[in-house]
């Protein structure tokens, strides 16, 4: 009995170790190549750690490439998207959580529908619609598209957070003399702050990762987001692996920060946007 128990425990820990290695090794490799000087990259073959490490790739990327600009663009797009989506989703999520009204069912259906059909279908028509408005090749256009794509999922997420707050609270506030909107702002929203942070995190991460629409809608370097910049970098200078990976590590940083922020809400987020990534 005890021997079997010990064996079981050892097997359990070993299996977990395998998962950790599998999860982290690619990221470790990314980091390793990004700090390997060019002269060692090809000469040392497959080594777990280079004999000499340095930050030269990072310095080059920061000083002599467009990546700081891409980074800035991505931050602008992702932060604006997250901010706007969270406002819209709070309002809509509140309506879905608190009111019964004619047409509510159809709003839910509409939002679920947008989660079901392949967004890649919209690449061409959206380009056609935005270009006469001057919204292609602009951060504004990208933000508009990302906001619309993320609102349904964020609405369901916010709705689930509102559902967790008793209705009595805003009723008490309304009896105390508040309008419903004031009760929403002063009583309900402060209590949803963790949920708002989670929504911000989810949407920021989604916008930060988006590739296909950014590729389609953005063509010049000036409005490129990080993924677009990195991909064009790949095709242009496919030999500068160290620099690309240094840029890759930089793209990873905000994503990891937001991951820490939303880690507690993963389950809720995944169920709210059951079909989303």
């Amino acid at each position: 009995m005890t021997r079997r128990f010990i064996l079981g425990t050892v097997a359990h820990r070993l299996a977990i170790l395998v998962y950790i290695i599998f999860a982290l090794f690619p990221l470790y490799w990314l980091l390793k190549v990004s700090v390997t000087p060019n002269d060692l990259l090809y000469s040392e073959g497959v080594r777990m750690w280079p004999s000499r490490a340095g930050l030269e790739h990072y310095i080059f990327v920061l000083e002599h490439s467009d990546f700081p600009k891409f980074f800035k663009n991505s931050v602008i797009v992702s932060a604006s998207t997250a901010f706007i989506v969270t406002i819209l989703a709070s309002l809509a999520g509140y309506a879905l959580s608190r009111f019964t009204f004619r047409g509510k069912y159809w709003i839910v259906v509409l939002m679920l529908l947008t989660q079901m059909f392949p967004l890649v279908m919209l690449v061409a028509p959206i380009f056609k619609m935005l270009s006469p408005l001057g919204l292609t090749n602009s951060l504004g256009g990208l933000i508009l598209v990302y906001v619309a794509f993320n609102v349904p999922f964020a609405t369901f997420l916010m709705q689930s957070f509102f559902d967790g707050i008793p209705k009595d609270l805003e009723e008490a506030a309304m009896i105390d003399g508040a309008t419903r909107f004031r009760a929403f702002r002063q009583i309900i929203l402060p209590l949803t702050l963790p949920g708002i942070a989670a929504t911000l995190g989810f949407v920021f991460t989604a916008a930060w990762s988006e590739l296909l629409f950014a590729l389609m809608l953005i063509s010049g370097a000036d409005a490129s987001t990080f993924p677009v910049g990195l991909l064009s970098f790949v095709s242009k200078f496919s030999v500068d692996f160290g620099q690309m990976m240094a840029a890759g590590v930089m793209a990873l940083i905000p994503a990891c920060l937001f991951f820490l922020l939303i880690q507690r809400y993963l389950v809720q987020g995944l169920t709210a946007g059951a079909v989303k990534g």
Binding site: V46, Y94, F101, P118, V120, P125, L211
Partner: protein, 317 residues
């Protein structure tokens, strides 16, 4: 008498004055939920529903971005072309393989991970954060990262495979027409395991503990407990997650666009990436939209199939 008259007069006047405002007030109250949801709904309609409708019309029109004379109605020409399009047929086949293999592997390894994490042990919180980290990596970066891992110049994988005798030379699997699809699939599995693990872990933790205790007292061993308690409890979550996830992955083109761009020789092209290639590289919006319509029809058929399946299962139960 006179006093009474005055009183009723004022009552009359005040009630008359109130009659007009309540209508507005009522309207304001009744419109409240619409005001809250309007911005979101308008945006969705304008930026998702309208382009969807436009896309439908493109499917029957000749829309090429570089040809200013295009735009005319051409009926079913695109669909006729699709029937003879070898790449499309291949993409369809690839989509099934891509979605099937990805979901099967993600689910299997996700379930194992969830079961491993469902047991309390020292440092579980940190382990959880570490093994879920791939989910946070932007998909384009996952793709690039794995492409580099498969690249014999800087990546270790070809050398390992060669050393193990699995390949004849340390070549890039992504340029091998027969095995290229495994590249994006492995990247997808790495990236998607956390999704299944998190969902299943949540479902596992919702199973009442005392059920297991009762079963142990009744003399069930670990495997019997898994079979008679865990699986039945997880079944609904598993079913819905797999069904929805399959659709999502079938449409998930990022990894393929980043890693292989559909190559070599369209061996890794899936329908979604083919749509993107037609729109983005060839700028043939009409043809891209026609493929998209076919994809949508297939997805709807899939959804219908699931609904029917569910109903027949419910009827049996």
């Amino acid at each position: 008498m006179g006093v009474r008259n005055t009183v009723s007069m004022t009552a009359f006047v005040s009630s008359d004055r109130q009659r007009s405002t309540p209508v507005l007030r009522r309207l304001a109250v009744a419109s409240e939920p619409y005001l809250y949801s309007a911005p979101a709904v308008i945006l969705i309609v304008a930026v998702m529903l309208a382009p969807l409708a436009l896309g439908f019309s493109y499917a029957f029109r000749d829309v090429k971005l570089l040809n200013p004379l295009s735009g005319g109605f051409i009926g079913l020409d695109h669909f006729r072309a699709l029937i003879d399009d070898k790449t499309f047929a291949r993409a369809l086949k690839n989509t099934f393989f891509w979605a099937g293999a990805s979901v099967a592997l993600q689910f299997t390894f996700g379930l194992i991970l969830a079961l491993l994490l469902n047991r309390p042990f020292w440092g579980r919180g940190i382990v959880q954060a570490l093994v879920f980290l791939p989910w946070a990596v932007p998909s384009f970066l996952s793709g690039l990262n794995w492409a580099w891992m498969f690249n014999p110049v800087i990546g270790p994988i070809p050398h390992w495979l060669f050393a193990l005798g699995l390949t004849d030379a340390p070549d890039n699997i992504l340029s091998d027409p027969h095995n290229a699809m495994w590249g994006p699939i492995i990247a997808n599995v790495w990236w998607g395991i956390p999704f299944f693990a998190i969902t299943l872990l949540a479902a596992l933790q919702a199973i009442p503990r005392d059920l297991y205790e009762a079963a142990s007292i009744d003399g069930a061993n670990a495997f019997q407990r898994f079979k008679s308690i865990t699986l039945p409890f997880l079944a609904p979550t598993i079913a819905i997650t797999i069904l929805l996830r399959t659709v999502w992955i079938a449409n998930f083109a990022d990894l393929i666009v980043v890693m292989t761009n559909g190559g070599p020789a369209d061996r890794t092209q899936i329908v979604a990436s083919y749509i993107f290639t037609q729109a983005f590289r060839r700028l043939d919006f009409g043809y891209a939209s026609a493929i998209a319509v076919v994809l949508l029809v297939l997805l709807m058929a899939y959804a219908l199939l699931i609904v029917l399946l569910r109903q027949s299962l419910l009827k049996k139960a």
